[in-house]
């Protein structure tokens, strides 16, 4: 059965992923369609996230849907002490679909189980952000022509990075090879290594951002190394410039390599990379809109021709 809500990337199997990618391709060809005419979508952002909210709202607007909602919990009844359940029940009286971001982990699963209308998780604390993973998969598929047998090098904060963990999960159906490049303090958690072992996915771990890890890759997925993640600030000072990509580091990389980043970028990709045709992070962000159009229509049972 097709899922009614999207809470966790694990809600999608291989077939679901391909159905969404196919549909997102159609939206990329033509994002302006009347598919949500007469429908109301609620964007409930209990925690502000301008980038994600604008992407969802543009997706709905380009399909001629209407939007209600709030962009900050300060303007919602939760500040008056209203429970999440009551907010969801009330909003589902008005809307045909709920898109929710919340600072509490598990809030999306709970809301999806009580909501009579489909719900999309636009991020629940540090837990899940499945539309980010779907846009990553779409971008990989678009640039490589396949999701199968790719070498993906993931760099930066592999310990706390929600996007990284979900990407590993999302790619696990497609026989990837991973290079995990991270400082000692932020290396990939044991549970994801066990996950890879369990699925026979090969991976290598690096603490230095080596030429080998770049030159063997089809996808170079960069993430931010944040100062606040370090218990030892000396350690941060030592590594802060190690996991930074400069243009010359791409000189011997594969022809088909694309550099991705979930954004916002700070210093981990130097500006000189932006001009390189292998830099693809801004197109990746744009792909978010097409992917979200595909997910919205899929959950609402709307056929995209």
């Amino acid at each position: 059965m097709q899922p009614r809500s999207l809470v966790n990337i694990g809600d999608y199997d291989r077939e679901d992923i391909f159905r969404i990618l196919k549909s997102a391709t159609k939206f990329k060809e033509n994002p302006d369609r009347d598919l949500l005419k007469g429908k109301v979508c609620a964007t409930l952002f209990f925690e502000p996230s301008t980038r994600t909210r604008l992407s969802f709202e543009t997706a709905v607007n380009r399909l001629r849907g209407r939007i209600i909602g709030f962009s900050d919990s300060a303007t919602s009844s939760s500040t008056k002490g209203e429970s999440l359940k009551d907010t969801i029940m009330m909003v589902s009286n008005y809307a045909d679909l709920i898109i929710m971001r919340h600072h509490l982990e598990g809030s999306a699963r709970y809301a999806s189980e009580i909501s009579p209308v489909p719900l999309i998780n636009a991020g629940d604390g540090s837990n899940q952000h499945p539309t980010q993973t779907m846009l990553d998969l779409f971008t990989i598929y678009e640039t490589q022509g396949t999701l199968e047998n790719l070498t993906v090098t993931i760099v930066g904060d592999l310990k706390y990075g929600r996007a990284v963990h979900s990407l590993i999960q999302g790619l696990s159906y497609f026989n990837p090879t991973f290079n995990f490049v991270a400082p000692e303090e932020l290396h990939i958690p044991e549970k994801y290594k066990l996950f890879c072992d369990d699925k026979n996915i090969s991976y290598r771990e690096y603490t230095n951002f080596s030429a080998e890890s770049i030159n063997s890759a089809d996808i170079l997925y960069m993430t931010r190394v944040q100062k606040e993640r370090f218990t030892d600030l000396m350690e941060y000072e030592k590594v802060k410039n190690v996991y930074v990509l400069h243009n010359e580091m791409l000189s011997k990389s594969k022809e088909n390599l694309k550099v991705l980043h979930p954004l916002p970028r700070v210093k981990e990709i130097s500006q000189d990379v932006d001009e390189n045709p292998k830099a693809y992070y801004f197109q990746q962000a744009k792909n978010g809109m097409y992917t979200r159009q595909a997910i919205i229509c899929d959950l609402m049972g709307i056929n995209v021709s």
């Binding site: 982990e105 699963r109 709970y110 549970k191």
Partner: protein, 150 residues
């Protein structure tokens, strides 16, 4: 001659034997024994050949349903249940950890929705042997020694 019983014999009812000594009162609470009007004998720090010391609970005229008794598998997975009728053990049972644990355990993640909203907690048992559970909502995994009861 058998040695003297450490706790008086039961005519009819259930004897829960080989409870780890630190789990006896958790078992009392999980089975809500404080609400029962039945005659209940609770022994703790009794001698045990197998365990050194153990706890034992005997409840007269009470035969627990499976889902009721399986609640204690979380804190005392290796207890022996003796069903007694007319002073005889008519059945011996083990407890089985259920696949889902509802409204028994508190999530250890303070940022979990279940700690911030009036709702039932739900956990999935991910490893029955090691007793590892996962929050249905925030997906945090909790090991046996970290389990906190509601």
């Amino acid at each position: 001659m058998g040695k003297a019983l450490q706790v008086a014999a039961l005519e009819n009812g259930t004897a829960i034997d080989h409870i780890p000594t630190d789990a006896v009162f958790k078992v009392v609470s999980l089975l809500q024994l404080q609400r029962l009007g039945n005659r209940i004998t609770i022994g703790n720090n009794l001698n045990s050949n197998k365990m050194g010391t153990k706890g034992l609970i005997k409840v007269s005229d009470k035969f627990f349903k499976e889902d009721e008794i399986n609640r204690i598998a979380l804190v005392a997975p290796s207890v022996n249940l003796n069903i007694i009728r007319n002073f005889e053990v008519v059945e011996k049972k083990k407890v089985v950890l259920p696949d889902e644990i509802i409204e028994i355990v508190k999530c250890n993640n303070p940022k979990c929705i279940s700690n911030n909203e009036p709702m039932k907690t739900i956990f999935h048992v991910t490893d029955k042997e090691k007793v590892e559970i996962q929050c249905h909502y925030c997906e945090v995994k909790i090991k046996k020694e970290e389990i906190v009861l509601i």
